[in-house]
């Protein structure tokens, strides 16, 4: 691949991702509305799609307020961290056989590393706001994300065992005959649940639960800084959906259609599922979430790991 091609891929991925993240504003509102028997935004532009523009403009024109009691520099950096880490995670995702920014040997670990760094945005945002609700949100976010990172990593190890590689293109190639969602159903479920907790999406949006903590860790944020958290959340959804597709649903593999289209269709289905979850499930209590993680998911995923390892060894010899 020449340097020029590389730059084009980077720019293309960035462009598509940011557009998807913005477009999800509209998709989410429309779909949520439909699932709640409403119509949703349908005024601005065809099917109301220009609400994306209106919303972004609104965010740009809002007063960008930094509270005088906040820790200024950390307050400013926190929203950038979430977008930065999530965008960096996309580096390793193979969208199609040749469309990948960097097919690292340690791709999966890189993804885990980036998602573990994303915690900082919540923790620091919550701390720097110097506000009790933000602080509570930040602390919840920290413990939730650290805990669920463990299960996320462990749930992927079954796939790694079967493939024998951390490289995502190898993982996709290994699913030629059978997708890993059939071989690793437990891994899939745990990964997806951990993914929801990791992106702190509903129903696990405990760090920002607006009914008890105002808006949690971003209570004090306004304007485009809040917008960054917003975009970061949508990018996170896209990332987890793309990862689920790549790891468990055969990535770009599929008959007839071009590979990239397959990838987008599958990813989009998972994004829809994220939104459906938001529309249907209530938020658990904080201790319930933790108990659920440590007492149910952890034993489950360890058992899965043990059985997968045993079977893999047995088959190999």
């Amino acid at each position: 691949m020449t340097v020029m091609q590389h730059i084009w891929i980077v720019l293309g991925v960035l462009f598509v991702l940011l557009n998807i993240a913005a477009g999800l504003i509209w998709v989410e509102r429309r779909m949520l509305a439909l699932w709640q028997d409403r119509l949703g935004p349908n005024r601005a532009g065809p099917f109301g799609i220009l609400i994306v523009l209106a919303d972004t403009l609104k965010l740009f024109f809002k007063e960008d307020w930094i509270p005088p009691f906040a820790d200024k520099w950390i307050f400013i950096t926190a929203p950038a961290i979430v977008v930065g880490t999530v965008l960096l995670s996309f580096v390793i995702i193979p969208f199609a056989p040749n469309i990948v920014v960097a097919d690292l040997n340690i791709g999966l670990l890189f993804f885990l590393a980036m998602s573990s760094l994303a915690v900082y945005s919540i923790v620091l945002g919550g701390w720097a706001s110097n506000n009790k609700y933000a602080l509570l949100g930040g602390m919840r976010g920290a413990s939730q994300m650290i805990a669920y990172e463990v299960f996320m990593g462990l749930s992927l190890m079954g796939v790694v065992m079967l493939t024998g590689s951390f490289k995502l293109s190898d993982i996709v190639a290994a699913q030629k005959d059978m997708w890993f969602c059939i071989k690793q159903p437990v891994g899939l479920v745990v990964f997806f649940i951990a993914g929801i907790a990791e992106t702190h999406r509903l129903p696990f949006d405990i760090p920002e639960s607006e009914s008890e903590l105002v808006a949690g860790y971003h209570s004090e944020y306004s304007g485009m800084k809040f917008g960054m958290f917003f975009i970061g959340e949508y990018l996170g959804i896209t990332l987890i959906s793309a990862m689920t597709t790549t790891i468990f649903f055969g990535g770009w593999l599929g008959p007839f259609l071009p590979p990239w289209l397959w990838f987008f269709i599958k990813t989009f289905a998972f994004i829809m599922f994220f939104i459906l979850l938001r529309a249907s499930l209530p938020r658990p209590r904080y201790d319930q979430l933790m108990e659920y993680g440590w007492k149910l998911l952890l034993p489950l995923v360890l058992l899965n790991l043990l059985i997968t390892g045993a079977i893999a060894l047995w088959i190999r010899g």
Partner: protein, 171 residues
Amino acid sequence: MISHVRTIWLTFLHLFTKKVTIEYPEEKVKLHPRWRGRIVLTKDPDGGERCVGCYLCAAACPVDCIALQATEDENGRRYPEFFRINFSRCIFCGFCEEACPTYAIQLIPDFEMGEYNRQNLVFEKEDLLINSEGKYPGYNFYKVAGINAGVKGKGEGEQEEAPVDIHSLLP
């Protein structure tokens, strides 16, 4: 766990149900006849003002948004000299309508009265007075009232006996 999956599935099915949204400007909301909306002053069948300027509505109003000044014409018929309702304070409780003895003040099913300027929400009598009998057609207060205010003579009203000649009562 099963119940969660069931919830998700049932929510998904709502994609195909009929939506409850009323797309307002194109599609009007169906308001009921007794819906409490914009306040009007009505006229009686003869075209005269119903309001007699009794101040009962102003007294009943919990937010004190009605102001009026009663006066009389040459026949002795009372009417408000000015009648002012500040709709930016009105809470559409309907107490004024209940208090009114002449069915003059009425709340009608209409809510499209948004304004950009708050001052425009202060409605004067000429804005309030409509050329209609509102919800109580055919009712004419002065036809049943005992007083002669140029509508009918004393004792000529509906179900009204002629005034007793007090001289005939003398023993």
